[in-house]
């Protein structure tokens, strides 16, 4: 949050400004409705300090304890690449890497990750220097609307690392040998990421290319 002043204006910020100026009356009235509920609470809202690393940068925050990791990333740190889809752990749009392992950022509290290291899609690459998984998604057209894409990409990177570590899956035929990446393994392992546009076949192609083509 200490860096929010120095942020350059993003497309999202422009959209927010545009929406606010276009519908100022609506925005104010809904805000006015929201305020009494929070100030009528008798006790102050509990807050807790937490620090963890995000994309290699140390971050210190004082957060309402209810803040999910997803909301801390998006609303406090303004890292809006990680998307909020269902907010109930069902769609995978919020997938990030926590200490290198893929998780759903909507189903964990930010204050639970003192000292951890979080990688979001912003930490993988830049438009000029994309991560190989990002480049492969572009090359294979692994998206349509793009909303699930940051989660798909983080999940795919975490998933390939799981295969490298020998984590088996539901479709692994023999539990006693190291799993290999096949199309069915890939589909099973990516089932926690929903794409409502249905770009699945291209997503499979993109991940397969990055994995070295075993699938």
């Amino acid at each position: 949050m200490e860096t929010s002043d120095s942020l350059t204006i993003s497309r999202r910020d422009l959209l927010i400004v545009g929406a606010a100026s276009g519908a100022a009356a609506t925005a104010i009235s809904s805000h006015a409705q929201a305020v009494p509920a929070s100030v009528s609470a008798t006790a102050p809202v509990p807050v807790t300090k937490v620090s963890f690393e995000v994309n290699g940068q140390a971050r210190m925050m004082q957060l309402d304890t209810r803040t999910t990791l997803l909301d801390a990333l998006r609303e406090t740190l303004h890292l809006t690449g990680t998307k909020k889809g269902c907010d109930h752990g069902q769609c995978g749009a919020c997938t990030v890497l926590l200490d290198g392992r893929r998780i759903k950022a909507c189903l964990t509290l930010a204050v639970m990750h003192e000292g951890a290291s979080v990688t979001t899609v912003e930490g993988l690459g830049t438009p000029q220097r994309m991560h190989p998984m990002q480049a492969a998604f572009v090359k294979h057209d692994g998206y349509q609307c793009g909303y699930c894409t940051p989660g798909q990409i983080c999940s795919a990177i975490g998933m390939l690392e799981e295969i490298r570590r020998g984590v088996p899956s539901h479709v692994t035929a023999d539990l006693t040998v190291r799993p290999l990446l096949s199309a069915s393994e890939l589909q099973e392992r990516m089932s926690g990421n929903i794409c409502r546009c249905g770009a699945y076949s291209n997503i499979v192609d993109a991940i397969t290319e990055v994995s070295g083509g075993q699938a």
Binding site: K104, L175, G192
Partner: protein
């Protein structure tokens, strides 16, 4: 989500003291079920005790030749452990059939046992539910019951326990190790850990208020062919309609537990004597006294057919 205060416990004793000091508190580990329920305000703890720092995250051999699985071992790590894959394949298979890769990376062994039903009437706060509000009634009874329990049900609740892992734990005769708020430890056999709904479906386990699960132990391996077959509406990332966990020995003897049919993992040891006689004979004993609805009576047939497939698979792989 209702607001709550938060603290991180470093030792089981500290966690116990914290829970005793804060009525309305809950432990949080993976959070994959509890936070979802808090967002729906089905759970509204006033204080959360983060137990992730308790160092209960290792898998150690026991003196009896089994394994002690720390309460905080993540589902993906338990499924991947070499000893579990080799000696307790049914447990690995059950874990891998549940949830998604991301969730298994966070969800813990104890949390998996303690997860709550996915009965849609429990989740819909506009519906009556004796679990959410004891005495409120049960909208599931007489409602859409296709997913719900067929055996061990009561007039207060027909919810199922959603876990796959717990079915394998029941099959393996696991024991649950706990520490109570006064520091006393005890061991609860998995068969007694989950309760049937009866008149108090809101009391789901044998745990006392504030009692903390510290580990789950597995007895020495039994050998045999380990199979977990889950039947669901889509091929991945869905809860079971029914599931069958089985260990089958070369002579056709063995054991079987079933998920998706009751308020707890369902196993009837007396029915297992019929294993060499085939699925029909076993299922007759296993599901004797079942009280399905017209929407879920198919589960009785589905259990028998799935067990039949499991036994056939065991014959070809042993």
């Amino acid at each position: 989500m209702k607001s709550f205060t938060y603290e991180r416990a470093q030792t089981p004793g500290q966690a116990a003291a914290a829970v005793a000091a804060h009525p309305g508190s809950r432990f949080i580990a993976g959070g994959t079920n509890l936070l979802d329920l808090m967002k729906h305000q089905i759970e509204a703890p006033t204080h959360l005790i983060d137990v992730n720092g308790l160092k209960l995250d290792s898998i150690e051999p026991t003196a009896e030749g089994g394994l002690r699985i720390g309460a905080l071992v993540r589902n993906s790590d338990l499924a991947t452990d070499e000893r579990v894959r080799r000696d307790y394949g049914v447990l690995s298979r059950a874990l891998l059939s549940g949830a998604s890769g991301q969730l298994r990376n966070r969800a813990t062994t104890a949390g998996n046992l303690l997860q709550r039903t996915r009965c849609v009437y429990f989740y819909d706060t506009d519906q009556a539910c004796n679990k959410r509000q004891p005495g409120a009634g049960c909208s599931a009874i007489g409602g859409a019951t296709r997913q719900l329990a067929v055996i061990g049900v009561s007039s207060a609740c027909i919810a199922t326990h959603p876990s796959d892992m717990a079915v394998a734990m029941r099959l393996l005769d696991a024991n649950v190790e706990t520490v109570r708020t006064d520091g006393r430890v005890r061991v609860i056999p998995i068969a007694d850990f989950h309760r049937l709904p009866g008149t108090t479906p809101h009391i789901e386990t044998a745990l006392e208020p504030g009692e903390l699960v510290t580990a789950v132990t597995l007895p020495r391996p039994t050998g045999g062919t380990h199979i977990y077959r889950k039947v669901r509406d889509r091929a991945s990332y869905a809860f079971a309609l029914i599931s069958v966990a089985a260990i089958v020995q070369k002579d056709g003897s063995g054991r079987v537990a079933v998920g998706g049919v009751a308020h707890k993992p369902w196993r009837v040891e007396a029915a297992e004597a019929a294993m060499p006689n085939g699925a029909k004979a076993v299922t007759a004993g296993l599901l004797a006294g079942a009280a399905p609805t017209e929407h879920n009576a198919f589960k009785l047939t589905l259990v028998e057919r799935t067990l039949s497939a499991v036994l056939a698979q065991a014959r070809t792989t042993s």
